[in-house]
C-alpha cells in the first residue's frame, strides 16, 4: 500500500515540528526517515500511524483519505522505540494481543491464534521463548517480539520508530541486516525512523532526509549520498571537508572565485607528494589508523584550516607519511552549493 502525505503541518506549542511536508512512499518499499533529533521525523511517523493528529494537511493510504481515521482502523503496525511490550504478558500473549482484542466475530479461534503466533515467532527466530516475560529477554529479542506483535494483525503498513536505537553496536548491525532480509520476504510497505545515516544507507530502498520540520531530499541511498541536494544533506550523510575555493583550484575558478565553498568527503581527497594543478599545499599534522583506513589530518598552508583525508592502508603505506612533512591534497570529487542548491 502506498502512503501519500500532502502538506502536513504540526505545531507543539511554539515549536514547529513539521512545516508543509509532502511525501509519497511507494508500495512495498522500505523507506527511512533520516534526520537529527528535533527534525520532525518521529512526529511524521506518528502522524502516519494516527498516533498524532496533524494541524493541517492530509494522509492518504492508496489514494484513500485516512487523515481522520482512528489508529485502530488504520491497520498499521507500529514498533515503538522502547518496544512498549506489555510487561505483565508473556511473549506469546504479547504477540497474540492484537488478535485477541478483535471483535468476537472477526476473532480467530484460540487454536488459530496460537498457530499464527508460533508462525510469527518462527519468522522472528524466537520460537523457544514463547513463555518468557519481556524482562527476561535481551534488547534484540525484545525488538523482535515487538516486530512480531506488530505483524500479527497483518498490517498494511509497518512503521518503526528508531528500531535499533536502544541496542548496542554489534546487535544493531546484525538486526538491521535481518530486518532488510525480512522485508524482502514479506514486502509490506515500511517506514522507519533513524538518526544514523549508516543505518539508513544500508537498509533502506529510499531515504527521506529531514531537518527542522522540512524534507531536505528524497532519493535512493546512492542518490542522497552521491548527489546531495544541499550542504545539510552532504554534511549529515558523511564526513565533510570544506575547501575554500581559490583561484588556483581548477573547477572552482570559473564560478564565483572567493565566495563559494567546496564540499569534499574525506575519502575523496588524494594525498600526493607531487604538486598538481588542483592540489593545495598542506602539512601533515596527525596520522591515525582506524580499522582498515588511515586518517590523515592536514593543515592547509596559508589558510590555517585543517582537512581530513581518509586513505586506504595500502595507500598510506605506499606514501609512508611522517608528521610535519609537506604534501599536496587534491580533491577527487568536489561539490559546491550556491544558496542551498547544488551546481
Amino acid at each position: 500500500m502506498s502512503i501519500e502525505i500532502v502538506s502536513v503541518n504540526k505545531q507543539f506549542g511554539s515549536f514547529t515540528a513539521l512545516n508543509d511536508v509532502n511525501l509519497t512512499v511507494p508500495s512495498g518499499e522500505l523507506t527511512a526517515l533520516l534526520g537529527p533529533s528535533g527534525s520532525g521525523k518521529t512526529t511524521l511517523l506518528r502522524i502516519i500511524a494516527g498516533l498524532e493528529i496533524p494541524d493541517g494537511g492530509a494522509i492518504r493510504f492508496d489514494g484513500e483519505e485516512t487523515t481522520d481515521r482512528h489508529v485502530r482502523e488504520r491497520q498499521v503496525g507500529f514498533v515503538f522505540q522502547h518496544y512498549a511490550l506489555f510487561r505483565h504478558m508473556t511473549v506469546e500473549e504479547n504477540v497474540a494481543f492484537g488478535l485477541t482484542v478483535k471483535p468476537r466475530k472477526e476473532r480467530p479461534s484460540k487454536k488459530e491464534i496460537r498457530e499464527r503466533v508460533h508462525e510469527l515467532l518462527r519468522l522472528v527466530q524466537l520460537e523457544g521463548l514463547a513463555d518468557r516475560y519481556p524482562t527476561q529477554l535481551s534488547g534484540g529479542q525484545r525488538q523482535r517480539v515487538a516486530l512480531a506483535r506488530a505483524l500479527a494483525v497483518e498490517p498494511k503498513v509497518l512503521l518503526l520508530d528508531e528500531p535499533f536505537g536502544a541496542l548496542d553496536a554489534k546487535v544493531r548491525v546484525e538486526l538491521r541486516r535481518w530486518l532488510r532480509r525480512l522485508h524482502d520476504e514479506i514486502h509490506v510497505t515500511s517506514v522507519f525512523v533513524t538518526h544514523d545515516q549508516e543505518e539508513a544507507l544500508e537498509v533502506a530502498d529510499r531515504i527521506v532526509v529531514m531537518n527542522k520540520g522540512r524534507i531536505e531530499q528524497v532519493g535512493t541511498p546512492a542518490e542522497v549520498y552521491d548527489q546531495p541536494a544541499n550542504p545539510f544533506v552532504f554534511d549529515f550523510l558523511g564526513s565533510v571537508n570544506l575547501f575554500h575555493c581559490r583561484a588556483e583550484q581548477g573547477q572552482a575558478r570559473a564560478a564565483a572565485p572567493e565566495l563559494s565553498v567546496g564540499y569534499v568527503r574525506s575519502h575523496d581527497i588524494e594525498v600526493e607528494r607531487r604538486q598538481s594543478e588542483d592540489a593545495v599545499e598542506a602539512e601533515v599534522r596527525h596520522i591515525q589508523a582506524v580499522g582498515p583506513a588511515v586518517r590523515v589530518e592536514l593543515l592547509v598552508r596559508g589558510t590555517g584550516k585543517t582537512v581530513e583525508a581518509e586513505l586506504s592502508r595500502d595507500g598510506a603505506d605506499r606514501l609512508a607519511l611522517d608528521v610535519g612533512e609537506t604534501v599536496y591534497a587534491r580533491p577527487r570529487k568536489m561539490q559546491r552549493f550556491v544558496g542551498d542548491y547544488q551546481i
Binding site: 507543539f12 506549542g13 515549536f15 494516527g50 498516533l51 498524532e52
Partner: protein, 277 residues
C-alpha cells in the same frame, strides 16, 4: 526534554470524562466544604475576627501548639536523619523489620497512639514511673504534647531522607576522600548539603502534621487552658459551646498556616528536584 509536546489530541481516549470527573469530585468533596469555612469567616467583621484569633487563651494555644510542633520536628529531623542513615548504610539484624516499623505511627490510629502514650508516661506507667521521681513530668503537661508530636511525626523525616540517601552516588564520597577530607568533613560539606532539601521537606511535613494533630495529643496533654491546650482542641471546645463563628475564625488561621506549609513543601520539593538534576 527541551520541547515537551502538548498532546491534547492524543489517541488515548477519555481525557474529557476523566478530567471532568476529577474536577467535579474534587470540588464536591474538598473545595466546596473548604469554601464553606471561608464564607463563614467572611461573615465576621475584621474586628470580631481579630479579637477572636488573638484572645489570650487562643494565643496561648498557638504558643503551645507551634512550640511543641517545632521542637518535635527538630528532634525528628535529627533522629530521623540518624535512623535513615543507620537503615541505609549499616548492616544490622532485623533491619527489614525495623524499616517496616518506622511507618507504624502512620498506620496506628491516632486515638490509640494517644491513650497508649498517656498510659506509658503516666506516673505509674512503664516510663513514667522512672521519670516522675526524677522530677520529669510528661503526661498532662506540654512535654506530653511534644512527645505525642514526636511519635506521629517520626516517619516523615526518615521517609523523605532515606530515598535520597540511597540514591547518592558513591563516587562523590570517594572523590571527597581522595581529596583528603575525613569522614566528618565529607559528611558536613558533601553529604549534608545533598540531603538538606529532603531533610527540610521532612521537617516541614512533620511540623505541619504536629500543628494539625488532635487525636494522639488530647489524651496525654491534660488540656489545661493557657498551659497545655492545643489549638485544634480549642476549635472543638468552641464548637461544643455552639460558638461556630469563633471555631471558624481559629480554623481559618490554621488553614492559612496549612496553605503556607503546603507552599513551602512544594517549593522545597522543586528545589530538591533541581538539586537532583
Amino acid at each position: 526534554m527541551a520541547t515537551r509536546p502538548i498532546t491534547r489530541n492524543t489517541v488515548i481516549p477519555g481525557f474529557t470524562p476523566t478530567l471532568g470527573y476529577t474536577v467535579f469530585y474534587l470540588s464536591l468533596i474538598v473545595l466546596l466544604p473548604l469554601s464553606a469555612l471561608v464564607v463563614k469567616t467572611a461573615s465576621l467583621t475584621w474586628g470580631e475576627f481579630f479579637a477572636t484569633v488573638t484572645a489570650p487563651r487562643v494565643v496561648a494555644s498557638y504558643k503551645v501548639t507551634f512550640g511543641a510542633a517545632l521542637a518535635a520536628a527538630g528532634v525528628n529531623a535529627l533522629f530521623g536523619l540518624l535512623v535513615a542513615w543507620v537503615l541505609v548504610r549499616y548492616r544490622l539484624p532485623g533491619k527489614r523489620f525495623i524499616d517496616a516499623l518506622v511507618d507504624f505511627p502512620f498506620a496506628l490510629p491516632t486515638a490509640v497512639a494517644g491513650i497508649t502514650l498517656s498510659s506509658v508516661y503516666a506516673a505509674n506507667g512503664w516510663l513514667g514511673q522512672y521519670l516522675e521521681p526524677r522530677g520529669i513530668k510528661v503526661a498532662f503537661t506540654p512535654v506530653g504534647i511534644f512527645v505525642a508530636m514526636t511519635f506521629i511525626g517520626l516517619p516523615f523525616v526518615v521517609r523523605t531522607v532515606q530515598p535520597v540517601l540511597e540514591e547518592l552516588e558513591q563516587e562523590v564520597e570517594e572523590a571527597a576522600a581522595c581529596l583528603g577530607a575525613n569522614r566528618w568533613q565529607t559528611f558536613r560539606r558533601v553529604l549534608l548539603p545533598e540531603l538538606l532539601p529532603a531533610l527540610l521537606t521532612g521537617f516541614a511535613l512533620a511540623f505541619a502534621r504536629g500543628v494539625g494533630e488532635y487525636g494522639s495529643i488530647i489524651f496525654i496533654a491534660g488540656n489545661m487552658p493557657m498551659v497545655s491546650e492545643i489549638t485544634p482542641l480549642l476549635i472543638i471546645t468552641k464548637l461544643e459551646q455552639y460558638d461556630y463563628a469563633g471555631a471558624t475564625a481559629i480554623a481559618t488561621v490554621m488553614l492559612l498556616f496549612s496553605f503556607l506549609m503546603l507552599l513551602t513543601v512544594n517549593l522545597l520539593q522543586k528545589w530538591s528536584r533541581r538539586h537532583a538534576a
